[in-house]
């Protein structure tokens, strides 16, 4: 009974979240997919300028950075995917030019670890809540010993009452 109430609450929360997401996406209209310009901007933010220190291609005014942005624009307009462009540039300039950690290999752990930690934390919270609920439930129920005590007390009280009556 308690569990089904919990499930109903979770379902309501999910339904509200889904509605919010639908309205948010609908509000974007036709721009669900990024335009070529947006893709170029996003990609230019993902590469470090090879000539400068600490600046992305998008931030730098260096000729080489501007050239990379021009090449990215050309590749995007030519139909290349983001992954293909990333691969082409990191293949040439080396992985160190990428400002986004790789999704595979040891570096890919930076994506996996937060998810794993989050899941473990959620599982721990769920376990604690269930245990707490069980304990509270157990405290609310009388044991046979308790019942026996109460019965004995009541019986004694009835006897006393009957004796006191004139």
């Amino acid at each position: 009974m308690v569990l089904s109430r919990l499930v109903r609450q979770v379902l309501w929360i999910l339904a509200v979240a889904a509605l919010v997401a639908i309205f948010a996406l609908a509000g974007r209209g036709d721009s669900l997919l990024p335009t070529n310009e947006e893709r170029v901007e996003a990609l230019a933010e993902q590469f470090a300028c090879p000539e400068c220190s600490g600046q992305s291609v998008a931030q730098s005014n260096a000729a080489v950075a501007q050239n990379i942005e021009r090449a990215v624009t050309e590749l995007v307009n030519g139909g290349a995917s983001d992954e293909q462009i990333r691969a082409r540039i990191t293949d040439r300039f080396g992985e160190q030019v990428s400002l986004v950690p790789a999704s595979s290999g040891v570096v890919g752990l930076v994506w996996v670890i937060p998810v794993v930690v989050g899941l473990v934390a959620l599982a721990a919270i769920a376990a604690v809540l269930l245990r707490w609920r069980r304990d509270v439930g157990a405290q609310g129920k009388a044991s046979p010993a308790d019942r026996a005590l109460v019965e004995a007390f009541l019986a004694e009280r009835i006897e006393l009452t009957e004796t006191d009556q004139p």
Binding site: P50, A63, N67, R70, A71, D91
Partner: protein
């Protein structure tokens, strides 16, 4: 004690000056002379290099197969590029008759850069092809991080190495001759 301290100071001053000079030399090495440095292209087939030259002709690196090719990325606004230009002329003229070692330059940018390069060559000389890379893709494929950079393409069409910074004719010949000795001319 005082004299020992003076002696230490006297020894330290030239040492500091020497270190400062060495540091300056290291920092400005690319400005003075190119550094033969490893690159991600080493040992790989040279990326496609095709395009229109400043003269309006079509150039393809494949047509130079069988010769060593110095693929030189430059810009007219870059001082080391201007400095190395006479050396490239010397290198090109040295091998003009045999054709065994050639130069091709690449500029990246639009029509404005092309016009500036045309004026630059008219003024300073140089008769090798200058390919215009309007999209920047050639420079990306050759991993050009800073101009000038020169990529040495072997007669086999594979990249032998990259020189970051300005080149000299003698240095180019020395590197290529050494490569020929090591690889048997291919």
């Amino acid at each position: 004690m005082g004299s020992a301290r003076k002696a230490s100071l006297a020894a330290a001053v030239p040492l500091v000056i020497l270190l400062a000079l060495l540091s300056w030399k290291v920092v400005n090495r690319d400005e003075v002379e190119g550094a033969f440095a490893p690159s991600t292209l080493d040992g790989k087939r040279a990326p496609t290099l095709e395009g229109t030259t400043l003269d309006g002709a079509m150039y393809s690196l494949d047509n130079d197969r069988g010769s060593w090719v110095v693929v030189n990325f430059f810009a007219t606004w870059c001082p080391p590029c201007v400095l190395e230009h006479p050396e490239l002329i010397k290198f090109a003229q040295r091998h003009l008759a045999t054709g065994d070692r050639r130069v091709v330059s690449v500029i990246f940018g639009g029509p404005q850069e092309a016009a500036l390069a045309r004026t630059f060559f008219d003024r300073n000389g140089g008769s090798w092809p200058v390919v215009i890379d309007p999209t920047g893709i050639v420079a990306v494929d050759y991993a050009v991080a800073k101009v000038p950079e020169s990529i040495l393409v072997a007669p086999s069409g594979f990249v032998y190495g990259k020189i970051r910074g300005g080149v000299t004719a003698d240095a180019l010949d020395a590197i290529i001759s050494e490569a020929e000795t090591m690889t048997g001319g291919s």
